[in-house]
């Protein structure tokens, strides 16, 4: 009952913030006009008007793809944050902290920098998806690396996990820096964009590219929820209770890193969403992954849409990088978990 209420409230919140996201910005468009434009474009003529002029272009070419991208990236980061925390058995395992996002962005940067040189044949084959696949590969490799590094006697060790994350972040940062020296002006700009995180580059094309990756993760991960629950009482218990631990682990890592990788390839590294969202979800409805995974996706979509709205409105007409907003929201939560679980994290 309570969970039904949570789903309803979150969906309503998401819907409201979508409307605001479409209406507000450098140019204000009345809500009625927004709805009118959308319904018109879909083929229903509700209010009689047909010519919306510049409003239509702003909504259809700029704000709608951006809002959709916010929803997809938020859902991807929220659900994969929750899933990765489940596998690592730790609420601090977050894609950007343990280096998964850095691995994805490093691959993305390498592909941009050397695209014409090395990847031209691949690029022709995969087209626009090359970046997404590359980022996915980078995310997947780092996730497996960190997992295996942090495993001591079959259990993930927190300090090793975070230290591995620091090392990978540093290495990816250094390599990215190196590549930026080699890259030309135009490539430089897009590389910087990847490091900062932004929804500003949203087009219908990259929304379309992101969509299948996020869809697969959001549909697939909840099927692994029971296995993730069992991981919290120990990896060997999964086997003893009759589920296949390796299959669950591989599926979770593949699906979660696919979503993270694809998000990073279109919006860069947006930190702390994967930490903040699952934590809030667990606070309101408990830790069962059958609840945490879908709700994290929903809440991630909502919070990122809001964060994007804030980043656009707070210093108008300048746009803040969205990573600044999410870090401002997420880092206090990180500190809070550290303080609350200080004793438990030591062992």
């Amino acid at each position: 009952m309570r969970r039904l209420l949570i789903y309803t409230l979150l969906s309503a919140g998401l819907l409201v913030s979508i409307c605001f996201s479409l209406a507000l910005g450098a140019m204000r468009i009345p809500l009625k006009e927004v709805i009118d434009t959308l319904t018109d474009t879909m083929g229903f003529n509700l209010f009689g008007g047909t010519d919306h002029g510049i409003n239509q272009s702003v909504i259809m070419m700029i704000r709608l793809p951006r809002t959709l991208m916010g929803i997809l990236v938020g859902a991807a980061l929220g659900i994969s944050g929750a899933a990765i925390q489940g596998i690592f058995r730790n609420p601090l395992a977050e894609p950007s902290l343990v280096g998964i996002s850095a691995g994805a962005s490093l691959m993305a940067v390498l592909i941009i920098a050397f695209e014409t040189l090395l990847f031209s044949s691949l690029s022709q084959l995969l087209g626009y998806y090359l970046l997404a696949f590359g980022a996915f590969a980078g995310a997947g490799i780092t996730a497996m690396l960190v997992y295996n590094l942090s495993k001591v006697n079959g259990q993930a060790n927190v300090s090793t996990m975070l230290l591995a994350g620091i090392a990978i972040n540093a290495m990816a940062g250094a390599l990215t820096g190196l590549v930026t020296y080699l890259a030309d002006e135009q490539k430089l700009r897009s590389i910087t964009f990847w490091m900062m995180g932004s929804l500003g580059g949203a087009t219908w094309q990259n929304v379309g590219c992101l969509f299948p990756f996020v869809l697969v993760a959001v549909i697939g991960l909840p099927f692994l929820a029971k296995g993730l629950n069992l991981f919290s009482i120990g990896e060997n218990q999964v086997e003893l209770i009759g589920l296949n631990p390796n299959r669950i682990k591989i599926m979770v890592v593949v699906l979660a890193t696919m979503a993270v990788g694809a998000s990073v390839s279109v919006s860069g590294i947006i930190g702390f969403i994967g930490l903040l969202i699952p934590h809030l979800t667990r606070l309101i409805g408990g830790v069962d992954h059958r609840f945490v995974l879908p709700v994290s996706a929903l809440m991630g979509a909502w919070v990122l849409t809001l964060a994007d709205l804030v980043s656009r409105l707070i210093a108008q007409p300048i746009e803040l990088p969205i990573g600044v907003v999410t870090a401002l929201m997420g880092s206090p939560v990180f500190l809070y978990i550290l303080i609350k679980d200080k004793k438990k994290l030591v062992n």
Binding site: S232, I233, Q237, L240, I241
Partner: protein
């Protein structure tokens, strides 16, 4: 039944178990005893299938446990480990329900709720059902995990239940309650293997005792056969007297008190007279020291 056929197990080239054989029939409750490092927990891990023996076989109802389908094995065998750390704030009921996860979609899944409610009631957890695991004491957490493994085998009465020090952290009442539950289930046909440190608990509740020493099986039999003064001294290095309780006819072990004098092992407490040297003969004239006294 389960048949263990001369299994051996090495870890980092150190033999932990050497050539162990025994078999357990339904309705038997076997207590595994032995000093620290005797191989009890290792044997449990092999019986559970978590580790594979280097040689020998473990046959459960006619099939080698390494050849079992995961889900079928999960319905026939459950294992309560010594330590059960939990990472997230699951509620008691959610953890007990985890014991039933393997049966999703199978006919047994219909009984999930019954199994969970009955085992929680049995382990005294009904009032704690919605409490977070992280807010419970060690003994209470151990009871939750006991309820979880019981729930796993609730509708399979010839199953094998492996309990590795189930009474860890439990208060006196629940130590007995836990073993009473195990003994009652054994009466109905379950096979129970329980690792215990308390010899008297083992003597009271188990109908068979196996003593391990240095990775080998030394004795195997009824409590009265196995728990003699000599055996206990050999296995545990402690003098003890074995009695038979007149009313229950159970064996009772009373270990002899070890007497120590702190001055004999703490050098700070020792009264030592400095040796006095005879300057003429340069021989030790007088040497009074308590250090030479054997502990």
């Amino acid at each position: 039944m389960i048949r263990v056929e001369s299994i051996s197990y090495k870890l980092n080239n150190r033999p932990l178990l050497k050539d162990i054989s025994f078999s357990i029939r339904p309705a038997e409750m076997v207590a595994l005893l032995g000093s620290n490092g005797a191989g009890k927990s290792t044997l449990m891990r092999l019986l559970s299938g978590e580790r594979k023996p280097d040689s020998g076989r473990i046959i459960l109802y006619g099939e080698n446990i390494k050849d079992y389908n995961r889900k079928i094995l999960a319905a026939k065998r459950a294992y309560l480990q010594q330590h059960n750390p939990i990472a997230m704030a699951f509620t008691v009921k959610e953890v007990v329900m985890m014991g039933r996860y393997g049966f999703t979609g199978l006919p047994a899944a219909k009984n999930d709720q019954t199994a969970v409610l009955e085992t929680m009631e049995l382990c005294g957890l009904t009032d704690l059902a919605d409490r977070s695991m992280l807010s419970l004491s060690g003994g209470e957490q151990q009871r939750v995990h006991l309820a979880r493994v019981l729930a796993q085998l609730w509708d399979n009465k010839n199953a094998l239940l492996l309990l590795d020090e189930p009474t860890n952290n439990m208060d006196l009442q629940f130590q007995h309650q836990t073993l009473a539950i195990a003994a009652a289930m054994a009466k109905q046909g379950y096979m129970i293997v329980v690792v215990l440190h308390d010899i008297n608990l083992a003597a009271q509740y188990a109908n068979r005792i196996i003593i391990l020493k240095d990775g080998r099986k030394w004795w195997d039999g009824t409590p009265a056969q196995v728990l003699t003064s000599q055996h206990i001294y050999t296995a545990f290095g402690i003098h003890a007297q074995a009695y038979t309780d007149q009313s229950s006819l159970k064996t009772i072990i009373v270990p002899k008190e070890i007497k120590l004098d702190a001055a004999k092992f703490n050098s700070n407490l020792q009264i030592t007279h400095q040796p006095v040297y005879n300057t003429e003969t340069t021989e030790i004239d007088e040497l009074v020291t308590f250090q030479s006294v054997q502990i």
